[in-house]
């Protein structure tokens, strides 16, 4: 038994086993049925139509298109499956309705051996929800260049970032000579991937708005992608920032401005509720905590009833340089995701 067990997990054996299984399947051998128990633990939070996810390892080629996921009432329910490696993948489905906290809800998945899909499959509506939970923002890490980057009066870079409109400074400062403020996708720093956005502001005593002895920060600004949002849903907006030099205290601020159905900004009476603002203030933090370190800045907010879209904007009031990366806007529940424990794959008689 011990010897067999050791052999069973040897990589070569596993590969052979998988190949032979695939051959059997392709030769038209009768498919076997397996089931697995998936138990959702709601944890410490009540859930409403929560998206749940489970990592599955079938250890054999299965035909996901034959899979049936059943809820506690034994009804078949829709799911979305994304393979991540041979015979392994993530299964997503909805815990429908309201479910109390501290509950364990059993589901079962029945699947037949067969051709491993190699690509995502299932109900597209759930795929859409999965995407909303990951990141609504395209190119949140500035990895994809804007191939048509055009130089303008306020932007002199060569490589832009797709979905982001970059401005080195405000139009009102265009007559100032030698403005050092700029924003550029660069590779010298990156929190994730290869690229990050360098955000450098200039401190000027000759700016029109500078009063005697009080210099003005001339900072870049960025208009990000406009993405659909839904009223009443909770969103988390986050990004990573690394300051490399700060010559004047201030903020770097990124917001998701709430837009209505016409993509116009909402201006409620309490103006601060019309956006999700995640700002990092150098004056509010210790230099040791932020200088030369990647720091996450995040905010969670429920979208107002009138919200249909959101647009990311980035600005700053500090003097110096920072790098920004990993912008994420995602729909979240009231708590961290529910956990799923996966039972062993059992043959079905």
């Amino acid at each position: 038994m011990g010897q067999f067990s050791a052999l069973r997990f040897h990589p070569v054996f596993v590969l052979l086993a998988r190949l032979s299984a695939a051959v059997v399947v392709l030769n038209g051998t009768a498919a076997e049925r397996f089931s697995m128990q998936l138990t959702v633990d709601t944890g410490f939070f009540e859930r409403r139509d929560a998206l749940v996810a489970a990592r599955l390892d079938f250890r054999r080629p299965v035909d996901i298109s034959t899979a049936v996921l059943r809820d506690p009432a034994n009804s078949a329910i829709p799911f979305w499956f994304e393979p991540v490696a041979p015979f392994r993948g993530r299964l997503y489905w909805i815990l429908a309705g309201e479910t109390d906290s501290l509950e364990k809800v059993p589901f079962s998945l029945v699947v037949q051996t067969g051709r491993w899909p190699g690509k995502p499959t299932g109900t597209r509506a759930i795929a859409k929800i999965v995407r909303r939970r990951r990141n609504l923002l395209p190119n949140g890490g500035f990895e994809t260049p804007d191939l048509e980057s055009k130089q303008t009066t306020t932007w002199k870079g060569a490589r832009g970032a797709a979905h982001w409109v970059l401005h080195d400074f405000a139009w009102s400062y265009r007559k100032l000579p030698d403005i050092a403020a700029l924003c550029r996708p660069v590779t010298v720093e990156a929190f994730e991937g290869k690229w990050a956005l360098m955000f450098r502001s200039d401190v000027r005593e000759d700016a029109p708005k500078a009063r005697t002895g009080i210099p003005v920060v001339v900072a870049p600004y960025v208009n990000g992608p406009v993405v659909p949002m839904a009223p009443g849903r909770r969103y988390a907006f986050s990004y990573w920032v690394k300051f490399t030099d700060v010559i004047r205290d201030g903020y770097v601020s990124a917001s998701v401005n709430f837009l209505d159905a016409n993509k116009k900004r909402l201006f409620p009476r309490k103006y601060a509720i019309n956006r999700m603002q995640a700002a990092y203030g150098t004056a509010r933090n210790l230099r040791d905590d932020y200088l030369g370190k990647w720091v996450c800045v995040s905010v969670v907010k429920e979208a107002l009833p009138e919200v249909r879209f959101g647009q990311v904007v980035i600005g700053g009031s500090f003097g110096g340089t920072c790098f920004l990366d990993g912008f994420r806007l995602r729909e979240v529940g009231t708590g961290p995701p529910a956990t799923v424990s996966v039972g062993p794959l059992q043959p079905v008689e």
Binding site: A236, A283, C296, V332
Partner: protein, 823 residues
């Protein structure tokens, strides 16, 4: 909701028609030169002194007055109070002969208008909402002082307010009044603050005189024969004002479907009772089938207070509704007597809703003891039954019922109540729980005292009664301390180091400490504001005040200020020892991180200074810290109190402990979780929260003020001057109970962990598993900890379900071999 410019246009058109209908009525609108003016009204500003040519204007130098009165016009549609209802063109502004509540000279000022010979009628509208510094809690003297309005030397009206007690009773009556769906915000929050007087006089001129603190908003004059027209013009003007205010806001409703079978049954019975555990029942709640007839239950250890909450939905108007709850009975015949049971009803108030535009939501925000009243049809009400389980109660289920009767109901309705008394006592908290408590003298009574000349002794008595009432209610909610400081009793320090004291303020402070000790015993008193405005004020120690960051940055602390600060602290603690006060923890500064890195540097310098003085004089220091820039102060503090904006993380908590400071928390959420399980994990020595009462914003003081304001931090009093119970206080009470349940479990695990009895070991293992499950689930880090934060606060429902598991585990540990019915 209607946009204000559209609204104003509608108003202009509407009033235009009214003008045509009442052309014989002269109308004067007093106020600023640039505020809105309704059509047909003549603007009168403060600059229009009387002249023969104009035939109207102000007389500001009465006989016997040395200097003419200075007049002011004020527009109250200011922007700083966002929750303040915006008023229409007549009520929004006025002219008055003084300002800043102490700047009103004695005497009358007069408005004169030539009208010609004959008999006339006049009508005035007078009202003012705020004083000059509207973000402070100033209330205008017009609200407090009695006054007489004279017309051509004859008394036209006398406004009397009664004594201070009558005024407090009056305010209690306002708090007792519900705001129901369809009610008018204008009627609730505006109309009652404006006085209207109709008077008769003889021409050729009208001299309208009133004391300098009386505002004048509007004056209408018409020949006596046109009485009906004048009264109609006045009524139209007020109706337009009402339309203006009420049209600004739209109610946002959380409507629920009313299941047909329940509706039919309710219509037959006249009303329906229902239970909805761990949920607040708003006016639009509609019971489901499962909620009707469901018993309302609670589990309560002996010696504790439980609350059973249920909903009541009348489907027709019900008069004289009575709710009675008798004794709760155990199967053995034992009872929880009726005197230990009290019924409370949550009052409905409008509160601003977070939406685009001007919306409000009607919420059951605070509860008073129930007294028979009319309940309107279609409005669900939220009842709470508090049950004090006696110390000698035997465990088991106690059943009773709430009986709701009314002459309009065919028969009384009954809600079944069950209290499961648990066979153990909860451990007392091993830490301090407290809330900030505003000085009644500064928040509720100061203006009355100043304006009404209330005798000092009566003021002391009132302050004490308010203090005691609030402290007792805090104790009822589970708090064992209160955070408050003195109201700046030190007026200066002489060159030889003698402390000059305002005797009245000092006496009030001494009274408060005595009242505190009466209720909370010898528990340490965290004296909020004492060190940055209470004792160490800019008056006595220039440049030392917590907010004087600019001055400190330029000049530092002067030697004189430091000397005076030391002298004040020495004197104060000598007084404390002499009077045998409980420990007064010296609160050296408040959220200096709000001033950025400069505030952080000043905080550090202050902390170092106070450290030396505290060590020499012998007292403990504390500070609330609202950002990372205050972290360097921690080694100089005895008690470090992070607020919500300081990165609360395992590392920072460990740093506080390594530095030798006690960890307390302040303002990390006024919810059940942050008072309960969060503390079980983080184990601070104190937990404070703003604010039990004494909200600093003027419009948030009383539910009936002109606002759809935030009264979540206001202590409401009824007309019998008894404190009410707010929803968030009840949440915190439950959190403190959660903490005590957890502590009881923790102790029993420790006490039983060495037992060799298999049943005990089994119970201990189960309890440990539960304890670890809970502790592992609590997320310590807050959103300022530099991580991708999603959420971490458990709902009250989750907390309650965990509490039940703890209760089972505790009973198991206490009696591992039993399978008693309480399990």
């Amino acid at each position: 909701m209607m946009h204000r410019s559209v609204l104003y246009s509608a108003l202009v058109i509407g009033m235009g028609f009214a003008v045509g209908a009442a052309a014989q009525v002269q109308r004067f609108d007093f106020g600023t030169s640039d505020s809105d003016l309704a059509p047909g009204w003549t603007r009168i500003t403060e600059t229009e002194l009387f002249s023969d040519g104009a035939g109207r204007g102000w007389l500001v130098k009465p006989v016997g007055v040395r200097r003419p009165f200075k007049l002011y016009s004020r527009d109250e549609n200011f922007a700083t109070q966002t929750a303040f209802l915006k008023l229409g063109p007549i009520l929004r502004d006025h002219v008055i002969a003084g300002r800043n509540y102490s700047g009103y000279p004695k005497g009358d000022y007069t408005f004169r208008v030539r009208v010609g010979e004959g008999e006339f009628l006049g009508a005035v509208v007078m009202g003012v909402m705020t004083e000059k510094h509207a973000t402070l809690i100033n209330r205008p003297p017009f609200w407090w002082r009695d006054c007489t309005v004279r017309v051509n030397g004859q008394t036209a009206a006398v406004f009397e307010h009664g004594g201070i007690r009558e005024q407090l009773v009056q305010r209690g009556k306002i708090s007792e009044r519900d705001f129901l769906p369809g009610d008018s915000l204008f009627d609730r929050g505006v109309r009652s603050h404006f006085r209207t007087v109709v008077f008769r006089f003889r021409g050729p001129e009208l001299n309208l005189s009133m004391p300098t603190f009386c505002p004048l908003n509007a004056l209408l004059v018409a020949p006596a024969a046109e009485e009906a027209r004048l009264k109609k013009a006045l009524a139209d003007a007020l109706a337009s004002e009402k339309f203006f205010v009420d049209s600004q806001y739209t109610e946002t409703k959380d409507a629920e479907p009313f299941p047909e079978p329940v509706r039919k049954a309710a219509e037959a019975a006249g009303a329906v009772l229902f239970a909805r555990p761990q949920r607040v029942i708003g006016p639009y709640a509609r019971p489901t089938l499962g909620e009707v007839g469901r018993p309302c239950g609670e589990f309560v250890p002996v010696g504790e207070k439980g609350v059973l909450r249920f909903g009541f939905l009348p489907v027709r108007d019900l008069h004289d509704v009575r709710v009675s709850v008798g004794a709760l009975r155990h199967a053995s015949g034992k009872t929880v007597p009726a005197r230990e049971v009290s019924v409370w009803l949550s009052q409905l108030v409008p509160m601003a809703a977070v939406r685009t535009g001007d919306y409000y939501r009607i919420v059951p925000e605070y509860a008073f003891r129930y007294a028979p009243r009319t309940l309107r049809k279609g409005v669900a009400r939220f009842f709470s039954v508090y049950v004090n389980v006696p110390n000698d109660a035997v465990s088991g289920d106690y059943a009773g019922e709430a009986v709701v009767s009314s002459p309009d109901l065919p028969r009384p309705l009954r809600q079944r109540l069950v209290v499961k008394v648990l066979p153990f006592r909860l451990d007392p908290p091993d830490m301090l729980f407290g809330m900030y408590w505003g000085n009644p003298f500064s928040t509720r009574l100061r203006h009355a005292w100043q304006q009404m000349r209330v005798p000092a002794e009566q003021m002391r008595e009132l302050c004490s009664s308010i203090d005691i009432g609030a402290f007792r209610e805090m104790r009822e909610a589970g708090f064992n301390t209160a955070a408050f400081g003195p109201a700046a009793p030190v007026s200066g320090v002489t060159a030889d180091g003698r402390i000059e004291v305002d005797g009245h303020l000092w006496q009030l402070w001494c009274d408060r400490v005595r009242n505190y000790e009466t209720v909370f015993g010898r528990a340490p008193l965290p004296a909020y504001n004492i060190g940055w405005s209470g004792l160490i004020t800019s008056r006595a120690t220039g440049g030392f005040w917590g907010r004087e960051v600019d001055q400190w940055e330029k000049h530092g602390f002067s030697a004189k200020s430091v000397r005076n600060m030391e002298a004040i602290c020495t004197w104060f603690y000598a007084q404390a020892r002499e009077r045998n006060w409980p420990e007064i923890v010296f609160y050296i500064q408040d959220e200096m991180a709000n001033h950025g890195t400069r505030g952080g540097r000043m905080a550090l310098a202050r902390a170092k200074l106070f450290r030396k003085v505290a060590d020499r004089v012998g007292f403990r220091t504390c500070a609330s810290m609202n950002g990372p820039v205050e972290i360097p102060t921690i080694p100089y503090l005895d008690i470090a109190i992070p607020n919500g904006a300081l990165p609360i993380s395992e590392e920072n908590i460990a740093y506080i402990r390594r530095s030798g400071a006690e960890l307390w928390f302040y303002n990390i959420g006024s919810n059940r979780f942050s008072f309960g399980y969060y503390l079980a994990k983080t184990r601070p020595k104190g937990r404070l929260q703003w604010s039990f009462g004494g909200s600093s914003r003027y419009v948030n003081q009383v539910a009936g003020l002109p606002s759809v304001s935030d009264v979540r931090y206001t202590l409401h009093w009824d007309s019998k001057l008894r404190p009410g119970r707010r929803n968030n206080i009840e949440e915190m009470r439950q959190g403190i109970l959660d903490y005590r349940y957890f502590r009881t479990l923790d102790r029993l695990i420790a006490e039983n962990s060495r037992s060799s009895a298999p049943s005990v070991r089994r119970a201990v293992e189960k309890a440990k598993k539960l304890r670890d499950y809970i502790l592992d689930g609590v997320k310590v880090r807050n959103r300022h900890s530099g991580e991708d934060f999603v959420a971490g606060v458990w709902s009250s429902r989750t907390c309650q379900r965990l509490r039940w598991r703890i209760a089972l585990a505790v009973m198991d540990l206490l009696d591992p071999d039993s399978k008693g019915d309480t399990k």
